[in-house]
Amino acid sequence: MRAADRLNAHVSGPSGARPVVLVHGFGCDQEMWRLVAPELSVDHRVVLLDLVGSGGSDLASYDPERYSRLEAHSEDVVALCRELGLSDVVLVGHSVSAMIAVLAHLGAPDLFSALVLVGPSARYLDDDGYVGGFSRSDIDDLLETMDSNHLGWQDPLAGMVTAGADDPALQAEMEATFCRNQPEIARHFAEVTFLGDNRDDLPKVSVPTLVLQVRHDAIAPQSAGAFVHEHVAGSRMVVIEGHGHVPHLSAPAETLKAIREFLSP
């Protein structure tokens, strides 16, 4: 299967323009970029994708063993870029995908010429002298919350009795909504995301990097963003005023401004 199909890729913008690849993080899918992608695609070749296991990607490709490492996702991103014949790529990663972006760059140094890390955190769990913001019991609580919320996905009993996924009416209903990821996969992705540690990968980054930090972000707090900024040599950090973890939804204008100023100073 082609990477573009596997990752439900959508490409827009002028074909000769500099490519900008937008990678969503934990929680939803490429729809998260809805308020910034169209503007960027005026003068950039914008590539949107769904990580394997999320959104409209090929769920059958989600092998939990393979995707227990973020490198698996970054390999997919690299494969897509190569398949599309891209070069001089700006890789934008939100949340855990900021680390996926870092790993993609390390795995394919020739491909990416700039990184934009939106709400990044190299490690979510607190550690000696490091404030990630979370304890193990917080993550367990998240997993429990996710277990109780299937958001209109088929209920767990359905899997035992009928194969509801073949129901076209049900499919249509789900396709009309966003942030509905398959519960088992979403849970696994949550574990991989929140129990990861990519702090040692940061110093190896060798391209211009922008860190976008929301002032009051409860998922990637300032301590985490500052850590990323300090350990990626030459990186720039911009703080976006406000609350929340998704500035490209809650403050799209500021987000675009920061990215544009970074790309053409």
Partner: protein, 383 residues
């Protein structure tokens, strides 16, 4: 009307809150404050929704709920835990929608909160049951697959002076292994046993009987020189094994006397071995005997043969029972096939398997097992 609305909000039978774009609670009704276990002063304009739910709920709000509200304008039936001032967790169901403002920063969020203690307990129990059933089912499936995979007939061992060509083709997608089996094993210096058989049925139940039969034959082969005695003993063992299942079997004892292989054999409810001589003539060898493991007094007859340059073909009934429409492959199809093949065990085995599969358009309705033996000595001499 204006007099009515504050009362509708304040006295609603569900918790009702209004949040600003940052998640701060700007209005809360009596029922919500009751659920939160806090006073108005402690909550309104002081705490955000994130601060009022559990740690996991907080993460969930920022990674799923607020983006969904932003993209769709509404979320329904979220299961969250509110944490009261004293730490008590209250399971609730939450629905919310967006009241857009002139800018995203000026939008408001309406939130309805319903207590859901019983429902949550029920759902948790249900989820746990489903999980453990799934786990058990998974374990059972893996066990079944492992067991069956170990019973697929193995590659026969290399026997000095004997050429063996064996083939096995399961029916269907091969996931449910049938009862066909064959074995070649040593019982003494210069003495080997070759066995081919078929246990009734398919799947795990048949597989366990197959395992039992293969294992028991190895034991009995040490105690019973004569193949018919062996089958009698095996018959007793299978009867005692407390199963309705039984098997069909050909047992061949091969003795290397230095110059030639001398065979003794016995057949129990199974197609007879087929002999192929160097001149291309073919014939069945042996006498039909009873099914093994059905009745208490079966009949088995021992036959003898000096192999010389002959080839001996053992096969299971999937070969002769193969069908195409109303046409049966049968012995009438098999004997000419063997006669026409090259005088080599590998050639005979390959030809039989190919033709039987082709006869059924590649879809065997039953397992096929084929084992052809021949002396390897003459080839060494001929160089």
């Amino acid at each position: 009307m204006t007099g009515l609305r504050p009362d509708l909000f304040e006295q609603a039978p569900c918790g009702y809150a209004v949040l600003d774009a940052s998640g701060l609670v700007v209005e809360a009704n009596a029922e919500l404050l009751r659920l939160l276990g806090r006073t108005r002063e402690q909550v309104v304009d002081r705490l955000t929704l994130a601060q009022l739910v559990s740690a996991g709920g907080r993460i969930y709000l920022d990674t799923h709920v607020f983006p969904m509200l932003s993209l769709e304008g509404v979320v329904r039936e979220l299961a969250l835990d509110v944490v009261q001032a004293d730490g008590t967790r209250v399971p609730v169901l939450v629905s919310a929608n967006l009241a857009p403002g002139p800018e995203p920063e000026r939008s408001l969020i309406r939130v309805v909160v319903l207590e859901a203690r019983d429902r949550r307990r029920y759902e948790t129990d249900l989820l746990e049951s489903v999980r453990s059933i799934e786990a058990a089912r998974q374990v059972a499936a893996e066990l079944a697959e492992t067991l069956q995979r170990t019973l697929i007939p193995p590659t026969p061992p290399a026997v000095d002076g004997l050429a063996i060509a064996a083939a096995y083709r399961p029916a269907g997608d091969g996931r449910e292994v049938g009862g066909d089996f064959y074995d070649v094993f040593q019982v003494a210096d210069h003495e080997w046993l070759a066995v081919i058989g078929d246990v009734t049925g398919k799947g795990v139940a048949a597989a366990t009987v197959t395992a039992f039969v293969r294992h028991t034959i190895r034991d009995l082969a040490m105690q019973h020189q004569d193949p018919s005695d062996l089958l009698q003993a095996l018959n007793r063992a299978v009867l005692e094994h407390d199963t309705d299942r039984f098997c069909t079997l050909v047992v061949l004892r091969l003795v290397d006397d230095g110059a030639d292989w001398s065979l003794t054999g016995s057949v129990g409810g199974h197609p007879l071995p087929v002999l192929r001589r160097t001149d291309g003539s073919v014939a069945e060898l042996g006498t039909h005997g009873s099914l093994v493991g059905v009745i208490a007094t079966p009949t088995f007859t021992t036959f003898e043969h000096r192999l010389g340059d002959d080839l001996l073909l053992l096969y299971t009934d999937g070969v002769i029972e193969a069908r195409r429409g109303r046409e049966l492959f049968g012995l009438e199809g098999l004997l000419p096939l063997v006669a026409g093949a090259d005088h080599e065990p590998a050639a005979v085995t390959a030809t039989v398997v190919e033709e039987v599969l082709a006869f059924q358009d590649g879809n065997p309705r039953d397992d096929i097992a084929v084992l052809t033996l021949g002396s390897a000595r003459r080839r060494a001499v001929a160089g």
